[in-house]
């Protein structure tokens, strides 16, 4: 008899606590339907309890993010005006003082627990996810590839020359979660069915290892976009393009635009490489020179090998730019390349009297 009582009392305590926890979970962790108000006018209804980034993605609003929402890239910044809760220690390493003051948060860390009001750049509304087939795969140099993606079905993409898209790298090998990586579009904006990307291999990189070693012609891949405010400004100034490595991509797209729209502004494209094996698209650039009478392509090798038989410009790209442009011209500059190259180029351009607001760049 006492055995029964003992068992039942212990069971009762256990059941009571389990029931308490279940109830708590039901009521405490259920946030019901929450409203997300974006930019004051668009209202979305979502199920509470999830992270803002994912909740927005369900509504087809894509905030740029490279890590897939793990709080390790710090890109998915949005302004949360109301209902975001306190700033979390997982966010602070990615935010500057000003950002904290103007209520910037990481969308992947903020949970939708109640009605929430946020501000995002208007152009993010035109960003969509696209499904595409790899129709072309070409080696441009020993470590740079061109891939062409054709949109499936009757989908089309509207972008401005110079913008970029984010490729979704699926789970492969020992990679457990999807990641996104940004690549500039190299093809003309008039082609809304197919985009070209120029990709340079990153040593031990998650995304480029997939693209170089796993992806094949005919495969399906997803990307979202277009993003970015790097595009050709409307003016009559002389254009200076400076690029290195895969930074040629957005410049190429801009040159296509100039040909197609008959923009015959004076333009010079300085393309910096180490040696002959890094050069690519020289023929295309030559044909651009024929179609655009005021356009000049100046490739520069900083360290040519004897077998390159190099007769063109030599020296660091900054030295070549310094030699070619005058200090009294009316210039506008577009730069794409590594942060080191861009910073050094800006210095040279500034020394030539080009104001900072006329220097546009896309830093890697």
């Amino acid at each position: 008899m006492s055995v029964l009582i003992t068992t039942s009392i212990i069971t009762a305590i256990g059941v009571f606590l389990a029931a308490l926890l279940t109830l708590a979970e039901r009521f405490l962790l259920d946030y019901g339907i929450c409203k997300i108000t974006i930019n004051g006018d668009k209202i979305y209804q979502v199920r509470g309890g999830n992270h803002l980034l994912g909740s927005l993605q369900e509504q087809d609003i894509f905030i740029p993010s490279a890590c897939g929402g793990r709080g390790s890239c710090g890109l998915c910044k949005v302004k949360v005006l109301e209902g975001g809760g306190p700033l979390l220690p997982t966010e602070t390493p990615y935010l500057t003082k000003e950002e904290i003051e103007n209520h910037t948060r990481l969308a992947c860390q903020v949970k939708v627990r109640n009605d929430i009001e946020i501000l995002i750049p208007e152009e993010l509304f035109s960003i969509r996810e696209y499904e595409a087939k790899v129709v072309n795969f070409k080696d441009l140099t020993y470590d740079i590839k061109l891939i062409s993606l054709q949109l499936k079905g009757d989908e089309t993409i509207d972008f401005v020359a110079g913008q970029y898209v984010q490729l979704k790298i699926p789970v492969y090998g020992n990679i457990k979660e999807e990641v996104y990586r940004a690549y500039s579009i190299a093809s003309p904006e008039s082609n809304k069915k197919q985009i070209d990307l120029i990709i340079r291999r990153v040593p031990k990189g998650i995304a480029t290892t997939y693209i170089f070693d796993y992806l094949k012609k005919g495969d399906t891949i997803f990307f979202n976009g277009p993003y970015g405010d790097f595009y050709l400004r409307d003016s009559q100034r002389e254009i200076i393009y400076i690029a290195g490595g895969s930074g040629l991509a957005p410049i190429k797209s801009m040159l296509h635009k100039m040909i197609e729209e008959g923009i015959d502004r004076k333009a010079t494209f300085f393309f910096g490489c180490v040696s002959g094996r890094d050069l690519y698209f020289v023929e295309e650039m030559k044909s651009f020179e024929e179609k655009l009478p005021n356009f000049k392509f100046i490739p520069a090798l900083s360290n040519p090998n004897p077998e390159d038989n190099w007769l063109g410009e030599t020296g660091l790209i900054t030295e070549v730019v310094d030699r070619h442009i005058s200090s009294d011209g009316d210039y506008e500059a577009y730069l794409c390349g590594s942060p080191g190259m861009i910073n050094a180029s800006i210095k040279v351009l500034r020394s030539k009297g080009i104001p900072e607001e006329l220097i546009f760049y896309d830093k890697f």
Binding site: C73, G173, I175, V202, K204, I206, V274, P339, A344
Partner: protein, 152 residues
């Protein structure tokens, strides 16, 4: 040895395929807290601080960076090459860093050592040199020997 949940979370981010393809730990099975403690000891025994090693690395990186991928000779015998890749690299401890691979060859001995901008940050701010067997592990002894750093 047990460690804080915070270090557990960071160690989770260091696994292969989370932030980087091969992870930050190589084939090291120790807990992060032990890796940090062991390297701290090694560096102290060498007579340096993390700060000093990171400064030496950063100094060479800054010089090499100015040559956009070309080798530069520093102190007469160190050949420094810095190669930039597109994109930013996330640190498991938080923060984003330029993707820059640095290779330094000691012309006197022919030995070389490699690191990234992220390594410099992780060494300076967290005393983390990556796990044994990791591709980007910076072995403190090798660093001191190849760069010919002297105490004091």
């Amino acid at each position: 040895m047990k460690q804080t949940p915070e270090l557990d979370r960071i160690q989770e981010l260091m696994q292969p395929g989370v932030i980087s393809k091969d992870g930050f730990l190589g084939n090291d099975t120790r807990n992060l807290t032990d890796i940090l403690a062991d390297d701290q000891r090694i560096v102290t025994n060498l007579g340096f601080t993390h700060q000093e090693l990171a400064n030496a690395m950063e100094e060479l990186t800054e010089v090499g960076k100015k040559a956009f991928g070309n080798p530069v000779l520093v102190r007469g015998f160190l050949e420094v090459t810095v190669d930039s890749s597109k994109g930013k690299m996330a640190s498991p401890f938080g923060g984003l860093f330029d993707k820059e691979n640095v290779v330094v060859v000691n012309k006197k001995t022919g030995e070389s050592i490699r690191w990234t901008t992220l390594n410099i940050h992780m060494i300076r701010d967290h005393g983390f040199y990556e796990g044994k067997g990791s591709y980007f592990r910076v072995e403190p002894e090798d660093l001191v020997r190849v760069l010919e750093l002297y105490v004091g």
